[in-house]
C-alpha cells in the first residue's frame, strides 16, 4: 500500500514538473511567435516595431499595384483612408487579391517605412473583410475630422463589409 502511495506521489510530482515545463515552453514560444496587428495609421505614427514579424492590413489602394517587368517583385499600397503604407512582396498574390480589397499582410517593417511582406492573405470571398482590417477602418473613420471624405469611404466599405 505504501509503495502504491509513493508511486502515486512520484507520478504527481513528475506530472506537475512536466506540466510546468510544458507551459513555460509554450508561453515562451507563444511570445516569440506572436504577430501583433497594426493598422496603417499606427504604422505611420511609428507605433509598430521594426525588424520583427508583424501583421498589417488595410484596403489595397486603387492603381497602386505595380509589377516588375522582369521578376515577380510587386509593390502596392495599403490604406485605412487616413494613412498609407507601401508594401513590397516577391511572389504570387492570392486569387482574391485586388485593388479595393481588404488584405492582411504578414511581414516586417524596414527603416524606410516599407513593409517587406512574407505573406499576403486575401483568401476569402469578395464580400468578406478580414475583421482586423474592418476594425482598422472603423478606427480610422472614427478619428477622421473632415466629414467631406466620408461618402467615399462608405462606398468602398459597402463593397467590403458583409
Amino acid at each position: 500500500m505504501k509503495a502504491h502511495r509513493r508511486q502515486r506521489l512520484t507520478l504527481i510530482v513528475v506530472l506537475v514538473a512536466l506540466a510546468g515545463v510544458a507551459i513555460g515552453l509554450a508561453l515562451y514560444a507563444l511570445r516569440a511567435n506572436m504577430n501583433l496587428f497594426y493598422s496603417p495609421t499606427q504604422i505611420s505614427a511609428g507605433q509598430a516595431p521594426g525588424g520583427r514579424s508583424l501583421r498589417a492590413g488595410g484596403v489595397v489602394r486603387g492603381n497602386s499595384v505595380q509589377r516588375d517587368q522582369q521578376t515577380l517583385d510587386v509593390t502596392f499600397t495599403v490604406t485605412d483612408f487616413e494613412h498609407d503604407v507601401p508594401v513590397h512582396y516577391r511572389g504570387i498574390l492570392p486569387d482574391l487579391f485586388r485593388e479595393g480589397q481588404g488584405v492582411v499582410i504578414v511581414g516586417t517593417l524596414d527603416e524606410r517605412g516599407w513593409i517587406e511582406a512574407s505573406e499576403v492573405l486575401a483568401k476569402h470571398d469578395e464580400n468578406y473583410m478580414p475583421p482586423e482590417v474592418d476594425g482598422a477602418l472603423k478606427a480610422a473613420e472614427a478619428s477622421r475630422a473632415i466629414p467631406s471624405d466620408a461618402p467615399a469611404v462608405a462606398d468602398s466599405r459597402a463593397s467590403g463589409t458583409p
Partner: protein
C-alpha cells in the same frame, strides 16, 4: 406541387425530429431513475424516428438543390443553375445551415446505430446512453430551428438564379471532407454518452469501456480520414502546396483527434486492466467537449478562415451556451460520481500501463499546446488587448519534439507487458530494433540525397522505431507455431499495428516533404522552361477553355527529366462568373515518392507571361496514406471478435445481482 412545398416539409420533419429528441432525452432517463421499463423502452423507437425525420429533412433540402429552388435563401446563396449536379448535391453542406443539418442528421444516425448494435446492453444502460444522445441532438436542433434553418424562404420575389457555391468548395475532395469530419466529431458523442451513462448508473467497471471502445475507434477513424482529406484538399486547392497551416480551423479538428487518440489508449487500459477508470471517463468528456468547441470555433464566425461563413453573433452565443451546458453538466456529474470509483492498481515504470500513461500525457500536452495557440488570440481579442495571430513556428517548435517523444513510447509500448516488466527484459526485446532503426535513419538520407541531415535522420529514426519493434510479436509466433502463428493475434492487435504503421508513414511523409521539397515562383511564357528539383518544366501552350460555370486560362506544361518525358500537366486559372471570383486549379503528377506540382499564379502585365508556382514534393502522399492506414487500423480493431460476443456479456451482467 410537392416540389414547391418541399422546404416546408423539411422544416416540419425537423420539428418532429426535435420533438422526438426531447422525448428521447427525458422519458428513458426518467424511466431509468424510477425503474419503469415502459418508459425506458421509449428510447429506441425515438432514436429511429429522429433519424428518419432528419433524413427526410435532409432529402428535402437536397431535392431543393437538385431542382434549383432559389426561393430558399440557403439554396440561392450556395448554388447556381449552371453548377453541375454533383456539386449541387455537395452544396447541401457547403454553407453553415446545411452543414449543421448534416451534423444533426449524423448525430441521429449514430444514435440509431447504437440502438441497433447495442441491443444487448442492459436496458437501463441503453436508455441512459440514448437519452444523453437525445439531449445533445435536441440542443442542436433547437439551435438550428432558432438561428440557422436552411429552409428559410425569400418571398415574395425569389431571385432568378443563385449566387453559386464558393468555387473553393467545388471540388471532389470537398464532397466527402465535411461528412467524414462530422462523422468523427459527432461519433465521439457516443463515447461521451456511454461515459455519462456509466457515471449515472455508478457502474464504472470495465464493461462500459468494452461497449464504448468500438464506437470510439470508429469515430476516431472517421475523424482521421476527415482531417487527412482536409489537408489534402488544402494542398492542391488552397495552399500552394502546403498541407498544414495551423489554421485555427485545422486546429479545431486536431484537438479532438489528439484527445480521442488518448481516449482510445486509455480505454484499452481500463478494459484490459481496470485501471485509469476516472481518467478514461474524463477523457471521454474532454474529447466530445473539444468536438463541440471545434464546432463552435468553426460555426460561430469568431475565426478568420475559409470555413467561417457564419457571421451572425447570435449563433456563436448559442453554440457557446450549448458548449457551456454540456461541459458544465458533464463535469458536475463527474465531480459527484467519479471519486467513488477506485482504481486498485499498481504497475511498474516499464509496464505497458506506464507506457500508455506516458502516451496519454504526451497527447494531452500536445492537445493543450494546440488549444493554447488557438484560443490565446481569441481571448486577447475579446479582452481588448490587441489583435494577434500565432504563427506556425509556435506550433512547430512545440509539436515536433512532443511527437518525437511520443514516437519513442510508441516503439516501446507494444513490446512491453502489462503491469510489471524488468528493464533488463525490455532492453533484451528492443536492442536489435534500436540498432536497425538507427541504421535506417542514418543511411536513408545518404542514399536519397547524398548528404547527412540531422532532422531527416531524427524523423526517420522515430518512424523506424515505431515500426520495427512491431515485427517482433508475429515473428515469435511464427517461430513457435509455424506460418499459422500470426493468425493467433487478434484483429484489434493488427488494428493497433496498422494504426502505428500509419503514424510512422505520416511521420516519414512530413519529414521528407519538409526537408527535401523544392519550390520556385517563376515568370513563364510559352516556350519558356525552368528547372526545379532535377525536373525540367516547359510551358508549351497557353489557351482558353470554357467550363460549365467558369472560363479558364489553361497552360500546358511538359515535364522532362533528361530526355525522358515524365508528364504533361494542365494547370488552370478559372474565373467563375456568378461570384466574379478567380480560382487556381493546380495540376499534379502524383507518385509514391514524389509529387510534381504546377499552379498558375497570375497573368503579368505584358499579357503573355504568367507567374507560376512549380514544386517538387517528395513523399507527400505518405502523409495522407498514413492517415488512411490509421483509419483502417481503427476499423479493423472494431471488427475484433470479442465485440461480437456481447450477448454473453449481457447475460453475465444480468446474472449479477
Amino acid at each position: 406541387m410537392l416540389i414547391q412545398i418541399l422546404p416546408e416539409l423539411g422544416l416540419y420533419a425537423m420539428m418532429l425530429a426535435l420533438a422526438m429528441a426531447l422525448v428521447q432525452a427525458i422519458v428513458p432517463l426518467a424511466g431509468s431513475l424510477t425503474r419503469r421499463p415502459l418508459w425506458m423502452s421509449y428510447a429506441v423507437p425515438m432514436a429511429w424516428g429522429q433519424a428518419l425525420f432528419l433524413l427526410t429533412a435532409f432529402v428535402c433540402l437536397a431535392l431543393g438543390f437538385l431542382f434549383n429552388d432559389f426561393s430558399v435563401t440557403y439554396i440561392a446563396d450556395n448554388a447556381n443553375s449552371n453548377l453541375p449536379w454533383y456539386y449541387r448535391l455537395s452544396a447541401v453542406w457547403g454553407g453553415h445551415e446545411g452543414s449543421v443539418l448534416l451534423w444533426s442528421m449524423m448525430m441521429a444516425f449514430w444514435g440509431l446505430a447504437v440502438s441497433v448494435f447495442s441491443r444487448n446492453l442492459p436496458r437501463d444502460m441503453l436508455a441512459r446512453v440514448l437519452s444523453v444522445l437525445g439531449m445533445i441532438n435536441a440542443g442542436f436542433l433547437i439551435f438550428i430551428l432558432a438561428t440557422s434553418s436552411p429552409f428559410d424562404r425569400i418571398l415574395p420575389v425569389p431571385p432568378s438564379d443563385g449566387a453559386d457555391l464558393n468555387p473553393l468548395l467545388q471540388d471532389p475532395g470537398l464532397i466527402v471532407h465535411p461528412p467524414m469530419l462530422y462523422m468523427g466529431y459527432v461519433g465521439f458523442s457516443v463515447a461521451f454518452a456511454f461515459a455519462l451513462a456509466a457515471l449515472m448508473g455508478g457502474r464504472l467497471d470495465a464493461a462500459w469501456t468494452r461497449w464504448a471502445r468500438p464506437w470510439t475507434n470508429l469515430a476516431w477513424a472517421f475523424l482521421s480520414v476527415g482531417i487527412a482529406l482536409g489537408s489534402w484538399w488544402a494542398y492542391y486547392e488552397l495552399g500552394w502546396g502546403g498541407w498544414w497551416f495551423w489554421d485555427p480551423v485545422e486546429n479545431a479538428s486536431l484537438m479532438p483527434w489528439l484527445a480521442g487518440t488518448a481516449l482510445m489508449h486509455s480505454l484499452a487500459v481500463t478494459e484490459k486492466r481496470g485501471g485509469f477508470k476516472s481518467w478514461t471517463v474524463l477523457l471521454a468528456i474532454v474529447t466530445f467537449s473539444l468536438s463541440l468547441l471545434g464546432t463552435f470555433l468553426v460555426r460561430s464566425g469568431v475565426l478568420t478562415s475559409v470555413h467561417a461563413f457564419a457571421n451572425d453573433p447570435s449563433r456563436g452565443t448559442f453554440i457557446l451556451i450549448l458548449l457551456g451546458l454540456t461541459v458544465g453538466a458533464s463535469l458536475t456529474l463527474y465531480a459527484f460520481r467519479a471519486p467513488r470509483v477506485k482504481s486498485p492498481l499498481g504497475f511498474g515504470w516499464f509496464s505497458r500501463d506506464a507506457m500508455l500513461l506516458f502516451n496519454n500525457i504526451l497527447l494531452l500536452v500536445m492537445m493543450v499546446t494546440v488549444l493554447l495557440g488557438t484560443l490565446y488570440p481569441l481571448i486577447l481579442d475579446s479582452l481588448g488587448l490587441g489583435r494577434i495571430s500565432v504563427g506556425p513556428p509556435y506550433f512547430n517548435t512545440l509539436i515536433v519534439p512532443l511527437t518525437v517523444a511520443l514516437g519513442l513510447f510508441m516503439g516501446t509500448g507494444p513490446v512491453t507487458r502489462w503491469k510489471q516488466m524488468a528493464p533488463r527484459e525490455l532492453i533484451k526485446r528492443l536492442w536489435l530494433s534500436a540498432i536497425v532503426s538507427l541504421i535506417v535513419a542514418l543511411t536513408i538520407p545518404w542514399l536519397y540525397d547524398g548528404a547527412w541531415s540531422l532532422p531527416v535522420s531524427l524523423g526517420l529514426l522515430v518512424a523506424a522505431w515505431i515500426v520495427v519493434p512491431l515485427v517482433r510479436e508475429p515473428l515469435t509466433l511464427i517461430r513457435r507455431f509455424g506460418l499459422r502463428g500470426p493468425a493467433k493475434l487478434s484483429r484489434s492487435h493488427y488494428g493497433m499495428v496498422l494504426g502505428h504503421i500509419g503514424m510512422a508513414m505520416t511521420i516519414v511523409g512530413v519529414t521528407m516533404v519538409s526537408n527535401y521539397d523544392h519550390a520556385d515562383n517563376v515568370r513563364m511564357r510559352q516556350g519558356h522552361s525552368v528547372e526545379v528539383g532535377g525536373y525540367r518544366f516547359t510551358m508549351t501552350q497557353l489557351n482558353e477553355v470554357h467550363g460549365p460555370n467558369y472560363l479558364a486560362d489553361r497552360a500546358t506544361v511538359r515535364v522532362t527529366q533528361g530526355d525522358r518525358l515524365i508528364a504533361m500537366l494542365h494547370p488552370e486559372k478559372r474565373f467563375f462568373d456568378a461570384r466574379r471570383q478567380a480560382m487556381t486549379e493546380t495540376a499534379l503528377d502524383h507518385g509514391l515518392t514524389r509529387d510534381l506540382y504546377v499552379a498558375m499564379g497570375e497573368p503579368l502585365d505584358d499579357g503573355e507571361s504568367w507567374a507560376m508556382r512549380i514544386q517538387v514534393k517528395p513523399f507527400v502522399r505518405w502523409l495522407w496514406l498514413g492517415a488512411l492506414l490509421m483509419a483502417a487500423g481503427g476499423i479493423l480493431a472494431v471488427c475484433d471478435k470479442r465485440y461480437r460476443h456481447r450477448s454473453r456479456t449481457r447475460q453475465a451482467m444480468e446474472a449479477r445481482p
